[in-house]
Amino acid sequence: MNPFEEERQLMQLVQEADFVVVELTLYTNTHPNDEDALDQWRVAIKEAARLRRQYESRYGPLSLHSIPSEEAIEAGWRWNQPPWPWQR
């Protein structure tokens, strides 16, 4: 697999995991007592954080609140570089 394709696949995993969090958050807004949904959310938020760390340690920050790894600080934590989402 070429590096471009590897990045694309990991990005897609981050997008999927983050979307699960968005959807479960919205659902629990109107179903605050649904314990099963809250359990799903507890799993989803950890999985999303794990994939985000994995992506960011390889390809750079996804948000200004991202905490860089030691290696990333050494290399220079660059935000203002392509591709921006609409350039992919």
Binding site: M11, V22, E23, L26, Y27, T30, L62, S63, L64, H65
Partner: protein, 189 residues
């Protein structure tokens, strides 16, 4: 406050340069039932609704901004390599004369966005019913866009957006029910 996320909510794949399709998509970018209207409407209504439904308005407004970015990405990718002549053939000659290759908040006919498309009534039930209608109109628009589209890659993202309108409509209808249940409880005790 908001923090930018350097990624799309859902991937947008565009097969080829297609300014005609881009023009149709502008209906959902800067049109009456589009994503900008939705985002601005909910973001503004959230201040004057009961606490129990603030989260729904806040979070759906935020998601609508991510939909707006997906639409912008579609329009940008479909038009960035188009020549002025191709844009003209697609009916985007007047757009090019005013904006070049830039995006603008306007509908498929080039009518600029206006806040007269949206309302904030200061009455939670009235506002939520408007929001349900807005989601259903957006869902219908996405269906017409899918019917018009000849780009299979793009249809995947359009179907995702159509489905999100269904989910948002459902959350708004549940919000109405939450407020009605609360009102009935107050009458009993």
């Amino acid at each position: 406050m908001w923090v930018y996320e350097k990624k799309l909510l859902y991937p947008v794949e565009v097969t080829t340069c297609n300014p005609k399709l881009a023009r149709y998509l502008m209906e959902q970018y800067g049109g009456a039932d589009g994503e900008l209207a939705a985002a601005l409407r909910y973001m503004n209504q959230r201040y004057t609704v009961p606490d129990k439904v603030i989260g729904v308005l806040n979070d759906i407004a935020t998601e609508e901004f991510s939909h707006l970015e997906m639409l912008a990405t579609m329009i940008y990718k479909l038009t960035k390599d188009a020549t002025p002549q191709q844009l003209e053939e697609a009916g985007l000659g007047p757009h090019f004369a005013n904006h070049g290759h830039a995006l603008f908040y306007e509908n498929a006919n080039g009518v600029p966005f206006t806040t007269t498309y949206i309302q904030a009534k200061g009455d939670p039930i009235a506002d939520l019913y408007e929001d349900i209608a807005a989601e259903e109109k957006a869902r219908a628009t996405y269906q017409w866009l899918i019917d018009l589209s000849d780009d299979p890659g793009l249809n995947d993202a359009l179907k995702f957006l159509r489905e999100r309108e269904n989910v948002h409509s459902l959350r708004f209808r549940e919000s109405v029910q939450i407020l009605m249940d609360e009102r009935d409880r107050k009458k009993i005790f």
